[in-house]
Amino acid sequence: MPINYYLFLSLALFTIGMVGVLTRRNAIIIFMCIELMLNAVNLLLVAFSKMHYQAAFEAGQVAGQAGVDGQLFVFFIMVVAAAEVSVGLAIIVMMYRNVHSVDINFLNRLKH
């Protein structure tokens, strides 16, 4: 499958996530859109990893390890995203406890 399709698919996903971050007012939905952008990047990394692997495969190499790095990076991105979500949601819960809202218009000042 041509790499272009994956490229455009993840571009579109990333853009949708970006539009969501720009337009929505709910802090949780903004957070979810950030997850969407991370996943778009992950998809593109896996696609490029397979592209690299196929290039090495066609070049007649053993192709044992080519492209493994990309998939491991995706793994690490997932790890970091999980940690980020736990901390971020804790922060959102704390702000909700203080301000009783998750609307970012009310959260634009860091103290209350």
Binding site: M1, L13, M32, K50, M51, Q65, V85, A90, V93
Partner: protein
């Protein structure tokens, strides 16, 4: 399907529906991973994202009872400006990458060994063992941080 459900994520008024659409998006992305024969990442994606993270989001949303957006809903011009700028961003990137030299390259589909757990695990615990340990420390600190932040003071 991924695009449609991703669109529904940002257009749903109710955050709970938004989470459910996001889960569908993640399943579609996992389908792409399976298609690319990256089985380990597909399974991890479903378990970590669709399982753990989305359950966390649902818990927080239901905990806050934040069904509707507040009195200051999205203003029209903000929505318009965000959509237009996102569209321009997409247009620029597509135009830049349309004629790149990658056009002739293809990704290997339904074949290849590198997505399997055996190869990935072998690589992860030999060349990438130090980042792996560092990420475990990151997890520990994130856990402690979440507990400290969430603690009632």
């Amino acid at each position: 399907m991924a695009l449609f459900s991703a669109l529904m994520v940002i257009t749903s008024k109710n955050p709970v529906y938004s989470v459910l659409w996001l889960i569908i998006t993640f399943f579609a992305i996992s389908g792409h991973y399976i298609l690319l024969n990256a089985q380990f990442l597909a399974v991890v994606n479903i378990i970590v994202y669709a399982g753990a993270i989305m359950v966390l989001f649902l818990f927080v949303i239901m905990l806050m009872n934040a069904r509707q957006e507040g009195p200051t809903g999205s203003k029209r011009w903000i929505t318009l400006a965000g959509t237009v700028s996102g569209g321009i961003f997409l247009l620029v990137l597509v135009a830049a990458l349309k004629d790149s030299e990658l056009k002739a390259r293809t990704a290997m589909v339904m074949d290849g060994q590198i997505g399997l757990i055996k190869v990935l695990g072998n690589e992860l615990f030999t060349r990438y063992v130090v980042p792996f340990e560092i990420s475990s420390i990151l997890f520990l600190s994130a856990m402690v941080g979440a507990v400290v932040i969430g603690k009632k003071d």
